[in-house]
């Protein structure tokens, strides 16, 4: 396996249903390639960062900021 293949199929390595043989190909490449270790690290952190940036924290209360105007517009549209 080379860096191009590692990068291309990284998604399968992290989330796919690989056989033990296929997985060991990735592991073998990682043991020899610090660049792909760094790429894997940053790919994982990318997912962490996007979820932290876009998902409301688990402990947050449900948003209560729906404008009354919008609520009234929906109710009027339903009634019409």
């Amino acid at each position: 396996m080379n860096c191009r293949e590692f990068t291309e199929f990284l998604h399968e390595y992290l989330f796919g249903d690989l056989s033990a043989d296929e997985r060991s190909e990735f592991d073998k490449h990682l043991a020899e390639c610090p660049w792909c270790v760094a790429y894997l690290d940053s790919y994982r952190k990318t997912i962490q960062l996007e979820q932290a940036a876009l998902l409301p924290p688990a402990e947050a209360p449900p948003p209560a900021d729906a404008p009354e105007e919008l609520i009234q517009a929906i109710l009027r549209a339903r009634a019409s």
Partner: protein, 207 residues
């Protein structure tokens, strides 16, 4: 993840079943209760997907009207919130399709490039350690949000549906009218592209 409902609103599964039954019988107060309970969280989803306040409001309105129309088909074993979530995602996708389309920037510019020996031309560097998600500061969250906005729309939407809205690969493929294989590829490309945009900010040694 479910949040405790505010007092005075739905407090238990029984209440939800009763609310749905009342909506099915055409009770206007039940429709209002449903809107007041779920409007805020549906608006949040629509805002995330559309990044445009007016479009988000329109998508939420479309979603409620479509849900009310289809309430007869709602199955009692389902969760009302989950059902409404899917409907607002669909409504937001509908709005996205109607937006004036600008040619997308090619994603290839944001994907790794390889040279001799199939090594990356810009060799990856380890990133600094990140605090837990809940401890991320506002500046970082806003930076990441801006980078997500820079993704080509075709890829951004798959990233949003899979990673943020938690919709399965199969359901995402259905919603977008494409194949599971295409969804998987687009998701991987979207994450790679986002990684490239974030890379200069998170390399070890950079602030």
């Amino acid at each position: 993840m479910e949040h405790a409902p505010p007092s005075g609103q739905l407090s238990a599964r029984d209440d939800e079943v009763a609310l749905v039954a009342r909506m099915k019988s055409g009770d206007a107060a039940a429709f209002e209760s449903c809107v007041r309970t779920y409007c805020g969280r549906l608006l949040l989803v629509a805002r995330r997907m559309l990044n445009h306040e007016e479009d988000a409001n329109d998508a939420v309105q479309d979603a409620f009207l479509s849900a009310f129309k289809g309430i007869g088909r709602f199955k009692e074993e389902s969760q009302l919130g989950t059902w409404l979530h899917r409907i607002v995602v669909n409504a937001a996708l509908g709005r996205l399709r109607h937006r004036q389309r600008h040619p997308e920037k090619p994603i290839e510019d944001l994907l790794p490039h390889f040279g001799e020996g199939e090594h990356q031309l810009d060799p990856p560097v380890l990133w600094k350690a990140l605090p837990e998600a809940s401890a991320q500061d506002r500046e970082t969250r806003e930076l990441v949000q801006r980078c997500v906005q820079q993704l080509p729309e075709t890829y951004r939407i798959v990233l949003m549906l899979r990673d943020i809205e938690g919709i399965t690969t199969e359901a995402t493929a259905d919603l977008l009218g494409t194949s599971v294989a295409v969804v998987k590829t687009r998701l991987h490309r979207a994450r790679q592209a986002l990684r490239s945009l974030l890379d200069p900010h998170f390399r070890r040694g950079n602030v």
